[in-house]
Symmetry: C2
């Protein structure tokens, strides 16, 4: 008899994860969202009950998956009144498991290291899941969960997960900002961003099987000072981009720190 | 009767472009490389003659494609002695067409905006080609070339190509450096870079159909100062990464310049 799951949160992570768990055969008994329509809609897809009342969350599930925003984790854990044998996990890269430790005897983390969009179906078979549980039985359950999704999984403690989150900010949030800078520069000359999109995709694909250090190209790594100077002269009108260009060029040349 | 092509350069761009042109049915009459083995090996794949002597480049082709490094363009164009009806183009994002103008009556640019690896087969149907030619007949030929590869193509003048190259440095070279920072941070905690690779790919895939501005996520855009502070405290031991983190966070928040 598979463990019964209560899904707390019906946003992007809750929605994608809930549908994938349902497809894998896990019984989802209840969906909570503070937005009733969201709870109802996701619950209907999962054959689950739903509530928008934190105090009405069922005590009868075996596993409680918190897929709410980092800010809401405290509020939710403060309201949950559960028997001590229940396992409570969150799905956050940025939140220490301590926040659950203070409230629940059995707690853990089930953190899919991926960025989720409402309109893109994630492929869980490629999404690394970072697992942590305070007790062995809890870890076993989380591992079975990850296996059932076909996901690669890793035992990751609080400190490691924090560090991964820092690294993720660099490779996801900051990288996306560089895409935006590229788009802005192209648009400033009436050039379509479509000219840059294939390059962006290939840059990401190249490091799927190689180390980024081995893939570095461009004027900075070549020591092509003349091109760097021409680029900086062009960027003089955009000092914020020039400063970024200078700093990243120094980083590539290993001249920083 | 299709135009006959002389391919000057047998590196990554020359190799990939030459094989694709050959496959599309263009007669490649000669391959030049200063490295005889490279010239011979590529020529064999293309059914072409070859030389490692700049002075032995055939005057009998219709189109000369310079796929040499930016630094070598001057040397090659200085040595080429061609009848005035020949079209000479380079494949460089960073080199003004002026460098050909001074030497040839008919000149242009055929710049595939992509990063090429020796061991990855490029899909030319997705590679934007930036075209420029000083004369209409030259442009027509370059357009037929691009069409025969199934590539999207754009008329791009020298200034626009220069600006695209600046933008490409941001979205390719600088992005790859951020990947390297992410790898370095992960490795410093004995974490596999495999944990970050799917996130990197998804970040690039998301903006294939959307604008990066609409896709920005993370603590900076959320105004989550507490997380930013925790990340900076962790990065205190790596001041070069902390400085990069601070600057990119300011960029995302729109607080720069």
């Amino acid at each position: 008899m598979p463990e019964r799951i209560a899904l707390i949160g019906a946003g992007r992570v809750g929605g994608h994860l809930g549908r994938r768990l349902h497809k894998a055969g896990w019984p989802i008994v209840q969906v909570y969202s503070r937005t009733p329509d969201k709870a109802k809609s996701l619950a209907a897809q999962l054959g689950a009950g739903y509530t928008d009342d934190l105090n009405a969350i069922t005590p009868d599930a075996d596993l409680y998956i918190l897929a709410v925003s980092d800010d809401a984790i405290g509020e939710v854990t403060g309201a949950l009144r559960l028997p001590p044998d229940k396992l409570v996990v969150h799905t956050s890269g940025a939140t220490p498991s301590d926040e659950l430790h203070n409230r629940f005897a059995r707690y853990g983390v089930f953190y899919p290291l991926q960025t989720f969009s409402a309109d893109r179906e994630p492929d869980f078979s490629t999404i690394p899941i970072c697992l942590f549980a305070a007790d062995t039985a809890g870890y076993d359950l989380l591992e079975r969960l990850a296996r059932s999704l076909g996901s690669p999984f890793y035992a990751v403690d609080d400190r490691q997960r924090f560090v991964l989150h820092v690294a993720a900010v660099f490779v996801n949030n900051f990288t996306n900002h560089l895409y935006q800078v590229g788009e802005d520069i192209a648009h400033s000359e009436q050039l379509s961003f479509d000219l840059l999109r294939p390059l962006i995709l290939e840059t990401a694909q190249k490091i799927q099987t190689a180390s980024p250090a081995a893939m570095q190209t461009g004027p900075a790594i070549r020591g092509d000072a003349a091109t760097v100077e021409r680029h900086l002269a062009y960027l003089a009108a955009r000092p914020e981009y020039a400063e970024l260009y200078r700093m990243l060029t120094k980083g590539i040349k290993g001249e920083m720190g």
